[in-house]
């Protein structure tokens, strides 16, 4: 497991914030775990989704740091499926994501970064 230097974010946390910012830019103010995992997969250009434990543990940490907030989805909108925990970037989280993006080296491929995922299920 990557070790944290004081005042810094782990790579998985930066990746989550960047994916959350990408979703926010597509007018999605909130996102849920699986939707976020999909966006992260898209941005990485990977075939696999982030492990359950890794994802939700990191989401919990970011919430504790005040970079994300979360609430349960309203019951009437769940359409017969399990209700989702909906996350949103805080102002501080959005700023951290912007800083992480600015610090990232320019992508080598022609495609612009971040790539945006299709709207999650």
């Amino acid at each position: 497991m990557a070790r944290r230097k004081p005042g810094t974010l782990l790579p998985i946390e930066t990746e989550i914030l960047e994916a959350a910012l990408a979703l926010q830019r597509t007018q999605q103010a909130t996102f849920h775990g699986f939707g976020l995992a999909q966006t992260m997969r898209e941005q990485r250009g990977s075939r696999s989704l982030t492990g359950h434990g890794t994802l939700y543990k990191a989401l919990g940490r970011l919430e504790r740091f005040g970079l994300l907030t979360s609430t349960w989805e309203d019951a009437p909108t769940t359409e017969g499926r399990p209700r989702r925990r909906l996350y949103a970037l805080t102002q501080q989280g959005a700023e951290a994501a912007e800083r992480a993006l600015a610090a990232r080296p320019a992508p080598s491929s022609a495609s612009p970064f971040p790539r945006l995922a299709p709207k999650p299920a």
Binding site: H32, F34, G35, G51
Partner: protein, 275 residues
Amino acid sequence: MSPERIATLVARWARLYTRRLPASIAERRIEELGADVHDHIAHERGHGVGDRRIALGLLSRLVRGLPADVSWRGRHSPVARSVVRVALVTAAILLVPLVAMQLSGGVAWSPADFAVAAVLIGGTGLLQQLAARRAGDLAYRAAAGVALAAAFLLAWTTLAVGVVGEPDDPLNALYAGVLAVGAVGALLARGRPRGMARALLATALAQALAAAVALVVSLAGTPADRLGSVADVIGVNGLFVLLFAGSAWLFARAAATGRGRAPFPAPRRSGHRDR
């Protein structure tokens, strides 16, 4: 292998690693994972992905997340954290004689010595963590600290050098009795401050009685049979009497203020049934 079977496996694993955590934390994780797995299956099926591939994807996410699940559990479980902390401190302390044995021929610990020391240090540490976590009163925590330190010192001294005479002197068995009085008293009191005060007072009296027996036996024998000077026997035993009595006084103070909470659950009343 169907996605639903792997979903059941994910749910079972989540229930297992959230067992005995606060309900709000456990329910949130289980429910959130349930929604994630449901969304995962629905999304992949909606995109024409075969069931076998979906199941493998779910299994892969489960397996890759296992270390994080275990570490997350440790963070939310005070007991697991305490056990890890005590184990690390015990290992660090035992490294000292281990390293000393490599550097000097004067230190020679057998595997049994290490095992006894690990049990003594680890056991004392775990009891200290229990008292420190559950008790809300400074007097209670101080009382528990003094009692544990005294019990640890008494056990260590008895095993290593003997409180009276040599370590193999039969009279040293008296001090196992002193420790037994304290342990049984603490169990009967279930950590409640008033009961603990009585238990530690009984331990102090048992220590004084052991000292008296040791003195009488020693003085009745020939000078060669004596177990050290009278001053030594009184001094060493007196120190332990003071420590146990001091702990009893601190427990009594905690009982008087009423803030010290029992670290063990109260016994059930007969006739009461849990629902």
